[in-house]
């Protein structure tokens, strides 16, 4: 299977190199001056993609917890608020939400007399973070619920409040089970950050689009774009595996 993949991708990449017309890998050939300039231009979007993804993921992890905790409350009102947030947010497709935040939200601010401009950078971050937080909240919920009820009861009988029980007993245990799906969500955010290109954010996908317009070599440029995302995701996966190993060994100790 592995051999098949390798030979197939070699074929795809090499197929056009020397032959006529249809292939034009020269646009991203780092050996030539023009090709190198193009490759540098494409890769220069990497910083923005990483920034948007990391900040959005960080906000989503906090926001998700703030949504999940009331969902575990004994008060019905809190649970309903949490439920409505999750159901509402996760039903909105990312692209419409992005348009709403970028083009719509400033108008709401204006009507309230506030002058808060939303640039593509923060527009993308807000959208990704809010959209993802509904899923993060669900991950927290299942992680918290996977800890046996006896743990909460034992914490109560030694006098801990609800917040203390969460902080010192439940979350430290839940975090190990939460980590893999949260990492999954982070990969999802990295990929969805490509949508930020449509509101003019200069990230990986936007750079590729702009280069395609001037060079008109979509196949070659988008192939490189895919490889860029692939490398990003592989790096994240390796990082998560390292983190899991560290936490796993901690539990066995």
């Amino acid at each position: 299977m592995k051999k098949l993949y390798i030979s197939l991708s070699c074929f795809l990449l090499l197929a056009g190199c020397g032959s006529s017309g249809t292939w034009g890998w020269y646009v991203i050939n780092p050996m030539t001056k023009g090709g190198w300039t193009n490759v540098k231009f494409l890769i220069s979007g990497m910083a923005s993609t990483i920034q948007i993804s990391v900040i959005a993921a960080a906000i989503s992890i906090i926001l998700g917890l703030l949504v999940a905790l009331p969902g575990q409350s004994s008060k019905r009102g809190w649970r309903i608020v949490s439920r409505i947030y999750v159901e509402f947010i996760r039903s909105i497709p990312l692209l419409p939400m992005l348009f709403w935040v970028f083009y719509g939200l400033p108008l709401i601010f204006k009507s309230m007399g506030l002058n808060i401009p939303i640039d593509p950078f923060w527009g993308a971050i807000i959208t990704l973070a809010v959209s993802d937080s509904a899923f993060t909240a669900e991950i927290y919920r299942s992680g918290i619920q996977s800890i046996s009820k006896g743990q909460t009861e034992a914490a109560q009988t030694v006098g801990l409040s609800y917040a203390q029980t969460m902080r010192y007993v439940i979350l430290p245990q839940a975090i190990r089970r939460i980590l893999p799906p949260i990492a999954n969500q982070f990969i999802y955010i990295v990929k969805m950050s490509a949508f930020a290109s449509v509101i003019g954010m200069q990230e990986l996908t936007r750079r590729a689009n702009e280069l395609v317009v001037t060079e008109y070599r979509p196949l070659e440029i988008y192939s490189l774009l895919i490889v860029e995302y692939l490398i990003l995701v592989l790096i994240i996966s390796a990082g998560v595996r390292w983190l899991e190993r560290r936490m796993g060994s901690d539990e066995r100790k």
């Binding site: 046996s148 006896g150 009861e153 034992a154 030694v158 010192y168």
Partner: protein, 246 residues
Amino acid sequence: MPETAIELVDVNKWFDDFHVLKDINLTVNTGEKVVICGPSGSGKSTVVRCINRLEEHQKGVIRLNGVELTNDPRSISSIQGDVGMVFQQFNLFPHLTVLDNLTLGPMKARSLSRSDAEDRARHYLERVRIPDQVDKKPSQLSGGQQQRVAIARSLCMEPKVLLFDEPTSALDPEMISEVLDVMVELATEGMTMIVVTHEMGFARKVADKMIFMDEGEIVEQAAPEEFFGNPRTERCRKFLSQILQH
């Protein structure tokens, strides 16, 4: 006149339509040891869980040292810590060391300093005879050791009453006596205890009062000599003969 520690007056509880506790009346004086037995599903654990507010009762009155327990969160947090609880499944915190299991409550709920809490923890670990395992995780201890750590964890809160919910039911037979020994010692030192158990040898040794429950009711309530020697009801006689025949 002995001081009343716990008083239950006509306590009723339902799980949805299921009537788990029916008109429970029970008085426990300070320093008294009460053993509750009965077939599974008879509501004996529920009685204990109502006393420390892990469950709510719907009708009747529960008083702890004369103060009525309501479902008001403030009343709940004020009693938890005063009423210690030892669970069948130990419920130690698996991510914390033995020492941290014991200091968490005193430090967070009683605002003790770390060194005071650790002194207290070591003191009680010595009393349950596991002083040299403080840095281990609960999973590295045997069941009997884990349950003794759980008892020490309750004692660290210096509770006025200690509740035991089938403390030896999840243990391998050879570990039961090490836990019971610690409980007997606590009993002789004057701790007020309510123990749900089927360990009748323990009951004979320490109980001031025996209670037999069946189908949510207290069927029989007597001193141990009378309870074991001359059970008044047929249900109680049958239950005792079943668990004592070995």
